[in-house]
C-alpha cells in the first residue's frame, strides 16, 4: 500500500508531463519553405525533376512565353491575347507593385530605389526609342532582365507580364497625348485630387476623398 502512495504522485507527474509534448503542434511533415534534415541542402522544397510540365504550363504557345515571333528572334508587336479594361487594370496594379520602385508610377525612370546608389538610372519609357520598341521587347526585358536591371521571371507570371506590357503602352500614350485627344468636357489642367487619410504605402493608390460633405447618405 505504501508503495502505491509513493508511485501515485510520480504517475500523475508523468501523465501531466505527457501533456507537454508538442507532437501535434509540430507534426513531422513538410511545411512551405520549412527546413528539412533529410536533404543535404536542408530544403524541404524540391526542384521539379527536369522535363516536368506543370499542369497548365505546357508552353505550347511559344509567343506567350517568349515575346518572340515564333521561329525567329524578333520581338513581336502584338499581344498574345486581346486587351480589355480588365487586362489594363491588372497591368497597372502589377506595374505599380513590381516596376515603380525603380521606374516610378509615370515610367519616367525617377523611382526612389535607383537614387540610393544604382550605377545608372533606368531610362524613361517616353523616349523615342522605347516608344517605337515592339511589345515583345518589354516582355523580354521583364523575363530576362536588361543590363543592371534584374529579371522578374520568378515574381511575375507570363500573363501578368503581358498585362504590364500593355499598361506601359498605355502610359506611353498618356504621356504623349496632345490637347485634342483629351475627352470633351474634361477640364485642363484637371484639379488636384483630394485624398483620404495618409497617402498609404506601396502600390495601393491613395483613396480619393468624398467630393463634398453634402453627399447624400446612402439609403438605409
Amino acid at each position: 500500500m505504501a508503495d502505491l502512495r509513493k508511485i501515485a504522485p510520480l504517475g500523475t507527474a508523468v501523465l501531466l508531463l505527457a501533456g507537454c509534448r508538442q507532437d501535434m503542434h509540430n507534426q513531422p511533415r513538410f511545411k512551405p519553405l520549412a527546413k528539412s534534415d533529410f536533404y543535404t541542402d536542408l530544403r524541404s522544397a524540391r526542384p521539379p525533376v527536369e522535363g516536368t510540365v506543370a499542369r497548365g504550363d505546357l508552353r505550347a504557345d511559344s509567343y506567350l512565353y517568349s515575346g518572340m515571333i515564333p521561329g525567329s528572334d524578333t520581338p513581336g508587336e502584338y499581344m498574345p491575347f486581346p486587351v480589355n479594361e480588365e487586362v489594363l487594370a491588372r497591368g497597372r496594379e502589377r506595374f505599380n507593385i513590381y516596376c515603380t520602385p525603380c521606374h516610378s508610377r509615370l515610367g519616367d525612370g525617377n523611382g526612389i530605389v535607383p537614387t540610393r546608389g544604382f550605377a545608372r538610372k533606368p531610362p524613361s519609357f517616353h523616349i523615342d526609342r522605347l516608344r517605337k520598341a515592339p511589345l515583345g521587347h518589354f516582355f523580354d526585358i521583364i523575363t530576362h532582365g536588361f543590363g543592371i536591371m534584374p529579371d522578374y521571371a520568378a515574381q511575375i507570371a507570363p500573363k501578368d507580364r503581358w498585362a504590364i506590357v500593355a499598361y506601359i503602352r498605355a502610359l506611353q500614350l498618356s504621356q504623349n497625348a496632345s490637347a485634342d485627344q483629351i475627352p470633351r468636357g474634361q477640364a485642363m489642367p484637371s484639379p488636384m485630387p483630394k485624398f483620404r487619410g495618409d497617402p498609404g504605402s506601396g502600390a495601393t493608390l491613395p483613396e480619393s476623398a468624398a467630393p463634398s460633405k453634402a453627399q447624400p447618405e446612402e439609403p438605409k
Partner: protein, 232 residues
Amino acid sequence: MAQIFHRSTNTISRATIFGAVFIVAFLFWAAAQVQRSPYVTYAGVVRPQPVPFSHQHHVAGLGIDCRYCHTSVEESRFAGIPPTKTCMNCHAQVWTKASLLEPVRESLRTDKSLVWTRVNDLPDFVYFDHSIHIHKGVGCDTCHGPVDRMPMMYNYGSLLMEWCLNCHRAPEKNLRPREQVFNMRYQQPSSDNPVLLDGRSFSDQDSLGTYLVTKYKVRTVADITSCDTCHR
C-alpha cells in the same frame, strides 16, 4: 489536555475555507492570463533574425508593396518569404559593401538558404489560408499590425483560437474594400472621413461592413466558426 488552538481560530479556519474558493479562482485566472501573455504567445516579441531586415525601411521608406516580396499571398495559403534573389534585385546595386547584408550575399554565393526565424507560427493542427482573407477584404494590418512601422518583425495578435474567433464571429467589423487590403494606413470610415465605394459614400463601419458582407458573399458566422473550418 489543553486546547492547542484558541477559540478565535475557528473563525479563521472558516474564513480560510471560504477564501479558498477565491484562491482557486485566482489561480485559474492567473493561469488564463499567463496563457494569453507574451511569455506564451510571443505577441509583440521581436525574434533574432540573420539579417536585421526592416519592414519600416522598405515599406514606408521606399514604398515597396507587400506583394513584391510576399508574392503568393493573393493566390495561396502561404504568403511566401522572398528568396535571396529578390533581395539581390536591389542589393546587387545598393549597399553592396554593407556588412549587415553579408549573410544575403553569402547565401547567393554559396546557394544556401537564409534561415529566417518564424514569427507567426500556428500549431500544425490549425488550417489557415491567406488568399481567402485577402479576397474577402481583411487587411494585412488587421492581423499583422502596423508592419510599415516595424523596424523588426514581431507578431501583433496572440494567434490564440479566441483571437481568430473574435473576428469570425463578427467579420463585418473588420472588412474593408479589397483594393485597400495592402494599405497599412487605412482608416475605418467615420463621418468626417467617409469611404467611397461603388459610387456610394459610407460614413461608418457598420454600413460599410454590412455592404461588403453581401458584396463579397462572406459566408455565415455559423459556417466560419464551425470547428472544421480551421481544424480539418
